[in-house]
Point group: none
Chain length 188, copies 2
């Protein structure tokens, strides 16, 4: 175990990048199926999947098209950001000319962080990923615990085209992670 991340290199075609400039940054274009999956997970409450989950999700998405861990991470990050911004816009609209200068959004009166784990953050997880070859993931998006008549406002089935209006504080990641026990909240 003395060994950790080793240079995996192998990025693009070899070549001396002495002065090689590649201003073209092709970005990932998620497939509809991938978006479906991502949205489902996000709406399931897992808005900030830990690394482990990120890898799993990535593998899952990979079945529908090439995708990297970073793409998944970025997606969730942007998703959160975007949702929040939308929310704020709506709030502002509703408030009208109100000055809700209550307090700096630092305490996050409504910001609920249900879990904080290694999520790569802006940090480059680099090659720290296990890179397990376990192709089998959740299997199918199903086989999850069949909730019994639970108010599943975030069902994986589908979603309204306007899902940016939820403020559910009861976040219980209920996706499928059977062994996602890495939810270690900050010790107080």
């Amino acid at each position: 175990m003395e060994n950790q991340a080793q240079d995996s290199g192998s990025r693009r075609s070899g070549g001396s990048e002495t002065e090689r400039n590649e201003p073209v940054r092709s970005r990932w274009t998620p497939k509809p199926e991938q978006i479906l999956i991502l949205e489902s997970i996000f709406n399931s409450g897992m808005v900030n999947p830990p690394k482990e989950e990120t890898v799993r999700i990535r593998k899952l998405l990979e079945k529908f098209g090439a995708v990297g861990d970073a793409n998944v991470f970025y997606w969730f990050q942007n998703r959160r950001s975007r949702s929040r911004r939308r929310q704020r816009q709506i709030q502002a609209s509703v408030s009208g000319g109100e000055q809700p200068q209550t307090q700096p959004w630092t305490g996050g009166c409504d910001t609920i962080q249900y879990e904080n784990t290694a999520a790569a953050g802006s940090a480059p997880s680099f090659y720290n990923f296990p890179m397990s070859s376990s192709s089998s993931l959740y299997g199918s998006s199903s086989s999850c615990t069949e909730n019994d008549a639970s108010n599943d406002m975030f069902s994986l089935s589908g979603h309204p085209a306007l899902p940016e209006i939820d403020q559910n504080p009861s976040v219980h990641s209920s996706f499928c992670p059977s062994d996602v026990s890495d939810f270690q909240y900050q010790s107080g």
Copy 2:
């Protein structure tokens, strides 16, 4: 002292007990030598090393203790942030009621980088780096003045006790610590 705990992810102890696992996430504690190297590089102008460089730096630092790529990345990120904050504070203090207008020293050293990710390919690399502008070595001093040698112990040369209040873009080419030169040829 010798703790190689540099993990960046959730590392569950093998214990399957219901007892407290180990919610404590030990963070990397850089060795003095490592800090010296990092500071040298930073002061050399490379305030935001691309991935390639990051890996190299990591390998370098590894000689003095366990460290991961993420640690290096974090270090530089925090360093930049702190330096900037200090600068701002000082600036504010000096300015008093001045107008901090003008461009925040868009120093040219920290140019945005572009790099092809080709996520659709097979590059699980996270945040992509561009190409190192100063591919030479960390000793190449750029116009990017950001000398922030807060600690004397890290002072490579008997330089003026100028902590980090260098807001004068006179391009005085600060002394470039070429100490890192030694580490440069540390290709693994």
